[in-house]
């Protein structure tokens, strides 16, 4: 039994620009740094969710892209079983560096619990799950680059085996202030773009 699947919506955040299904919905050329750019997107989306400010850059990036997609999609995130499968290549490196810095000098030694809890790439998935109360299956993979074949197989298998109704998936990576990108999409039974490896590569 093979349900037809589509890439219902996709969001890209890169080079100070946010696009939804290839339309630019926000850009900020002179953003001071990644943190301020992400704050601007938050304000633009008018998201009243103060917990956002506690997150590290990687979680914020994943969170924002996911908000944009879930808002746009037909799916009711509270009722449907939406699995989350993300991957990247830097893991939580940007935050790891911050944590490392706080424990480097023996004279100025104050590790921050708020930073440490983000030294794992999958915490961002936790944040999205908390926001939308998703108790679904979730995983985070580390690859050298976005692997469309792997993602397609995993996403397809989750829905075909009825472990999820939809999958919020993609690549979300933060290496430093200038080196970041998000390519997040929702795989579901609605949409126009067919869900397959070729399309995923094309969109990425």
């Amino acid at each position: 039994m093979n349900t037809k699947l589509y890439i219902e919506n996709y969001c890209k955040i890169k080079n100070n620009t946010v696009t939804l299904n290839s339309n630019i919905i926000f850009e900020e050329d002179n953003a001071e740094n990644l943190k301020s750019f992400l704050k601007s997107i938050y304000k633009h989306l008018d998201l009243k969710y103060s917990k956002f400010f506690k997150m590290d850059n990687l979680s914020k990036l994943a969170f924002l892209a996911s908000e944009i997609i879930l808002k746009e999609s037909k799916i009711n995130s509270e009722k449907e079983n939406i699995a989350i499968v993300f991957s990247n290549n830097a893991s939580s490196l940007e935050t790891d560096r911050k944590h490392q810095k706080s424990i480097d000098k023996i004279t100025d030694y104050f590790p921050s619990p708020a930073i440490f809890v983000y030294t794992l790439p999958n915490i961002g998935i936790g944040e999205i799950s908390i926001r939308h109360q998703l108790k679904s299956e979730n995983a985070f993979f580390v690859f050298e680059r976005y692997n469309a074949e792997f993602h397609y197989t995993y996403e397809n298998s989750l829905i075909q085996s009825q472990k999820a109704n939809a999958v919020l998936s993609g690549w979300v990576n933060v290496d430093d202030d200038t080196n970041y990108e998000a390519f997040i999409y929702l795989v579901s039974q609605n949409g126009k773009i067919k869900h397959n490896q070729e399309q995923l590569n094309k969109l990425y």
Binding site: I84, N89, A90, S91, L93, D96, H99, Q100, I103, D104, I106, Y109, P111, S112, P113, F116, V117, Y118, T119, L120, P121, N122, I123, G124, I125, G126, E127, S129, I130, H132, Q133, L134, K135, S136, E137, N138, A139, F140, F141, V142, F143, E144, F150, T153, S157
Partner: protein
Amino acid sequence: MSKGVAVTGMGIISSIGNNIEENYQSLISKKQGISKIKKIQTIHKDVIKVGEINYTNKELITLLELPKTNNYSRTALLGEFAAKEAVKNANITNINKYKTGLISATSVGGMDKTEKYYYSQFEETKNRKYIASHDAGDASKKIAKSLGITDFVSTISTACSSSANAIMLGARMIKAGKIDRVIVGGSDCLSKFTINGFKTLMILSETDCKPFDENRTGLNLGEAAAFLVLESDEVVKKENKKVLAYVSGYANANDAYHQTASSENGEGATLAMQKALRVAKIKPTEIDYVNAHGTATPNNDHSESRAILNVFGAKVPDFSSTKAYTGHTLAAAAAIEAVYSILAIQHKVLFPNLNFETPIADTALVPKTEVTKKEIQHVLSNSFGFGGNCSTLIFSKT
């Protein structure tokens, strides 16, 4: 009952043994591996207790026959050591005879070396090689290369449930016919990064940890690596392999509660256990032993107790946490506990929850405190990670 995926080999290194036999002997003689830290220079070394592996990096490098120019982090050394034992244990002589993959898990990666050499690398070039081995995927690549695996290599990083997710993915890939066999597991070594991080969350114990005890004060960190070899029924038949056990159930669910703490009622844990039972097509009453996540933090043990009661009701099976033996080995935890679950089935014995004295007042659950001989058909193993990532695996007798 759903048959599941065959486990044909295992490999493990932990603070209670450098191979399967040593680990088993320690488990049945109640010999724990928790002590003050010896190999890492940290200001906390006289305060905390950990599950440290005896071998130094130098010894591991020699045992693995690596060249002097290598840039292996301790995570990679431990991982390769265990993976090699697993492949040997599975009697694999030609790795490329079938489509073979490696799915490895880690949370620390090469941090042990990076934290030592990161700032000096700008002046001293000789240690720069270690920065290249920092990332989470590096250990997986090295292990794959040493084993000769090229068909599929992936790394999972979901904190303390990482290797459970690796085992789960491996089992699914075999069931889906995507791969013929796969080496699955994880590795994490101790590092200042994790010690300091956990200290600032105030969940480390200064004494030997007491899982499920009312007076528990926190966890002991540990380091370890373990891998299972999973093979398809076809390969098992063709090669006439001895099957050690089956991965018959698995599931993953998100607690959706907090970045690091578990929900009061253990919702994510409950969902994971229930789903795993459904995948295995067995009833809760058929579980003979639960190897709990049981980290001995005030939060986890209470939450997990609630979840166990949610799933099993009045008939809670025999359960224990083996973390009082090995410490909490983070990404490797699920993998070493998978080995222990399978040992329990093979030797018809369940392992005790050390250091237990008083049950948690609110839930009144009492774990097994003695090595107990018992026919074991199905074992359920829990691993819950930061980020609300709850995973459960079920292992069954052949």
